[in-house]
């Protein structure tokens, strides 16, 4: 597969300014946290997290960025917005989770870089095709993960979708349409 743009197209520039835009901005988002734990109690995925969300906000405010970025907690946020809805301080907690994903993806930790690949491969597909091509995206994701067992996990689903005529290449009328938009976003985020 020939790719005309780098695989991980947002990472290099993001890393340059992640410290400035990243950590301080996230700390401001959760600055008013009063440690009530409503977020943790509301989270459908908290059972699988190593740091409870409440605990993670406090660690961020203490400046324990390294420990937070090494945790899997923010990668387990599925953006259900229940914590954001219920937070008595009205804090944008789901946005903070997403910002942590961006900060972690821009860092050097290889485990975090790998966890970010799913999203980066998806956006690469969008950049190329204008509208995401589900099958092409999953194929390039499997390739990027270098895990021969991963595709097998999704084989039953793939076969089901194939049988239903749902695995097909979409139209390509919008191919390349988003190239200029992505390039502009890249240059603006690199410059900020």
């Amino acid at each position: 597969m020939n790719k005309t743009t780098p695989l991980i197209s947002f990472t290099p520039r993001a890393r340059q300014h992640a410290g400035g835009e990243g950590l301080a901005a996230i700390q401001r988002m959760v600055h008013a946290c009063m440690q009530c734990g409503t977020c943790t109690a509301s989270c459908p995925n908290a059972f699988a997290m190593d740091l409870a969300p409440r605990q993670m906000w406090r660690m961020l405010l203490f400046g324990l960025a390294q420990e937070v970025l090494e945790s899997r907690t923010f990668w387990l946020c599925s953006s259900c917005y229940t914590c954001t809805l219920r937070c008595p301080r009205g804090l944008p907690l789901t946005d903070a989770m997403a910002a942590l994903k961006r900060l972690a993806a821009a860092g050097t930790d290889s485990a975090n870089r790998k966890k970010a690949l799913f999203y980066q491969e998806f956006m690469h597909n969008v950049e190329m095709n204008g509208r995401v091509q589900e099958m092409g995206f999953m194929c390039s994701y499997f390739l990027a993960m270098h895990d021969p067992l991963l595709p097998l996990e999704y084989t039953p689903l793939g076969l089901k979708l194939l049988g239903k005529g749902k695995l097909r290449l979409g139209g390509d009328a919008q191919r390349g349409r988003l190239g200029p938009l992505f390039a502009k976003v890249r240059s603006m985020e690199g410059a900020s």
Partner: protein, 300 residues
């Protein structure tokens, strides 16, 4: 009634049955759709972990196209993730003019501009508020008597922006379902997360959410959804999630279409991954009763 229509990428591929049934049902309800020309991906749930500006610029492009090509129309979105992405731009730009400026700087590369004039509406909001249960009942030719329906709303149609339903105890589907003669399952999982894209990144965690939802729906004949991601998570991984009996999962628009007298083929029922024989025979019984009602003149 006329709306600018943003189907989104899923509805062109794995959720084709949602697109087809949505168009069919809305047409029968007297709604005209003007698909936004040259629309592109909104970023789904993948843009946000990659770039904040991209998260806003991608949907803004579609909003700008809607303003230019379908001026004055509300934008109707059937996918909850697409809905939230577009809605977020309208909300954040309304509060922050410098953000609006940055987004327009991006859109300027294509000669587009976003002026903040489009109102973004979820399909469910349009069905419940603009069309309403009376019009739905009037369009129905089959009563779905004896059918118990579990309405599943998911997350992003309800939260974080609370616009048309209770974000903790959603109920906007209730009058639409009862208008068809069906019974609504009393459950508290309607707004519980399905796991969303964790199904790709942490399948074990997403499966536990799916199992909890399916278990709670045991008393229902069918779960109905209003989002392609919720639909896929609930229908495609049932055997991996739990050992219980299979649960049928349809899009709300497919159920409406069947009640409106559309055939299985017209709502692409064959594309669904979880439709039990028990549901099929119940639907056939409802159809037969509907036909009998139409052909046999009733006295009085």
């Amino acid at each position: 009634m006329k709306y600018a229509y943003y189907p989104g990428c899923s509805l062109e591929a794995s959720a084709e049955e949602y697109d087809v049934s949505c168009r069919e049902v809305l047409q029968r309800l007297g709604v005209e759709l003007a698909e936004i020309p040259d629309w592109t991906c909104c970023g789904a749930s993948a843009a946000e972990p990659v770039s904040r500006l991209l998260t806003l610029a991608l949907p803004a492009r579609n909003l700008a196209l809607a303003e230019r090509e379908a001026a004055g129309l509300d934008m109707l979105v059937p996918c909850s993730a697409c809905y939230l992405n577009h809605l977020r731009v309208t909300r954040e730009c309304a509060q922050d003019r410098s953000l609006s400026g940055r987004i327009n700087e991006v859109l300027g590369t294509e000669g587009l501009g976003y002026a903040g004039k489009v109102r973004v509406r979820h399909l469910l909001d349009v069905l419940a508020a603009d069309i309403g249960p009376e019009a739905v009942a009037a369009a129905a030719t089959r009563r779905l008597e004896g059918l118990t329906v579990a309405p599943y709303y998911g997350c992003q149609a309800l939260r974080p922006y609370v616009l048309f339903d209770d974000p903790e105890h959603p109920r906007s589907m209730t009058p639409l379902i009862t208008a068809l003669g069906a019974t609504v399952l009393d459950w508290d999982m309607g707004g519980r997360c399905c796991g969303a894209s964790l199904m790709a990144t942490r399948k074990d965690v997403a499966l536990s959410s799916v199992a909890a939802i399916l278990d709670a729906a045991e008393g229902a004949d069918v779960i109905v959804t209003v989002c392609p991601m919720c639909q896929m998570n609930l229908e495609a991984y049932q055997k991996q999630a739990r050992q219980g009996s299979p649960v049928s999962v349809l899009y709300l628009t497919q159920l409406l279409g069947l009640a409106f007298g559309l055939s299985d083929g017209q709502v692409l029922l064959g594309k669904n991954l979880a439709v039990t024989d028990a549901l099929k025979s119940k639907l056939r019984a409802c159809a037969a009763a509907g036909n009998a009602m139409q052909t046999t003149p009733t006295g009085g």
